[in-house]
Symmetry: C2
Subunit: 371 residues, 2 copies
Amino acid sequence: MAKKLTGPILLVEGGAQDADLRYASGFTAPDPVVLLVDGRKRYLVVSLLEYGRAQRTANVTEVYTPQQLGLEGRARGRLSDWATALLKKQRRRSVVVPASFPFGIAERLRKAGIRVRVAEESLFPARRRKSKEEVRQITRTQRAAVAAMKAAGRVIQQASVDRRGYLTRRDGSRLRSEDVRYVIERTLLEHDCVALETIVAGGAQGADPHERGHGPLRAGQPIVIDIFPRHKDSGYWGDITRTMVKGTPKPEVTRMIRAVRAAQKTALTVIRAGVTVKRVHETAQRVLREHGFETTVKNGWGEGFIHSTGHGIGLDIHEAPSLNLTSTRLLAGDVVTVEPGLYYKKWGGVRFEDTVVVTRTGCRILARCAV
Amino acid sequence: MAKKLTGPILLVEGGAQDADLRYASGFTAPDPVVLLVDGRKRYLVVSLLEYGRAQRTANVTEVYTPQQLGLEGRARGRLSDWATALLKKQRRRSVVVPASFPFGIAERLRKAGIRVRVAEESLFPARRRKSKEEVRQITRTQRAAVAAMKAAGRVIQQASVDRRGYLTRRDGSRLRSEDVRYVIERTLLEHDCVALETIVAGGAQGADPHERGHGPLRAGQPIVIDIFPRHKDSGYWGDITRTMVKGTPKPEVTRMIRAVRAAQKTALTVIRAGVTVKRVHETAQRVLREHGFETTVKNGWGEGFIHSTGHGIGLDIHEAPSLNLTSTRLLAGDVVTVEPGLYYKKWGGVRFEDTVVVTRTGCRILARCAV
């Protein structure tokens, strides 16, 4: 167990993606920012362009521009100088930074005589347990994901099957992964959400869990649909997966679907505050094995149940806790996905995923999806 | 001028956003990857989940999984261990990394006896000059942006104005920034592009160049529409801005529009290979001044022309060269935005932006937009 470092926390961000920064300041911008979290006080440095908006929306003690910190010339555009000037103003000479902190800035701070230590653990462990408001925000995104999944289900349901086994639309054209993805993403947009990597992978494509899917879809084959949008205002993610089959699947695929459904259902019954994540993951593994599905790795290619059972979700799509083989214990307020899956090159992929909040006595699915 | 470091370049990425990594490997993934660029050889480490896709799509000498590098247990999930094992295999003990390299990983590499030096300059300066194929990709995204701008123009054109001066739709409801943004983003989606921060900012909101805009739009006020999508397949960005007014603007707003249009036009005539970026920026500044518009900063709030004239664009939305006050010279193949603007709290914002490729004799607008 690494010793928890204490001291002022310094965050820098160049691209509006940093969840810690958003969590600690309530601010997000397309431009670089520097944030110093010093006990209960929070100091933000933003460019002149962002100053007005930062003053209105950031939840911090004080907002500065490089100009206000007395910086001139090139220093005005250099985040290391923003940080150094801010630390000087606050009379701090030592900071704790996340492991992802830019190395170039850390080196410059050290040259300026500032002690920079990397936190081995989460800087904001409180992020893991979601407040009621956060659960509400994740649920809002998750509902958008459910609406998009239903829209995808309708498109597949309404398709016909031509003589060669391809799904076809009313106009006679073949229904492709790309068409289903468009319907999903348009639906998400109507709900103020955006998804960059939506998966609609049919047949053998689904055997690669990160293949987005492309080309015409066929009847009888499993189609893995994984939708993980982010709400454009709140920044909170949602995550849902279903596996659909048009027409009659091969018996092996039916068995895979039954096994994964059972693994998900059983894993969900195990989840409650105090249980180890290992127990949840091992439960899913056991059910899949009991259904006759083995996991193997050959020449770097895995088949079977080749990932963890789920992950925490919030301002990051993947955050603590991971439902893996560690002995981390679940806490009330954890929001996690539960997503066992099976992947075989011959048959394709099958995955079912819902997002739940952990409670003292069990867990609650944030947005139900009958599809 | 910093000395250019030579040696194997190490990149790590946790979120599919890194443009250098994509440029050097042709690969992008939602999961972490490690890339070593050693002269002409490129070695990629990806998780088991990504292995199949990386083998099919990455443009590298060799793809490894942590398993193939002999890593066990927790080391299999730790990027610093991936990098250390890869460097050991390639018999390298010294690497050059970008300034954005994660500090936590740099510290671990150093503890493992590896020399880690930060590059002060771009690791892939060749990224700046776009190949024909790259210009084609940026143009494709830019055309999507133009289509979206035209769709936004139609919505505003078709709106009526109610007695209180609000833009209204056929159903009698008020037209809001959010409605126009939805039309823009749906159009982008139809072109396989996505935009996360589209700006539709009316009236005083437009005076803050990064305010996305919200609420009902009014006649007579400038509406700044800035669309910067990324193509979902190629990863290349586009960028365009127009300022629209429904009905008759105040004379001051008409003067601002005339001045910014003139500044953009004149700046475009100055651009060609060999010219300094400073000359382009100073030209835009001069034209705006000649039209009677001064730039001031008071209490951290800037008014007038408060940003640079443009920026390079490619796999990053902002990349070299910036059209600022430095003496960098433009090169044939630079792709840059040209986007002078004026911002006054009393009147709002006016900005016009096109994206051009620099040639030996001038520049060419990638996708024309008559709106």
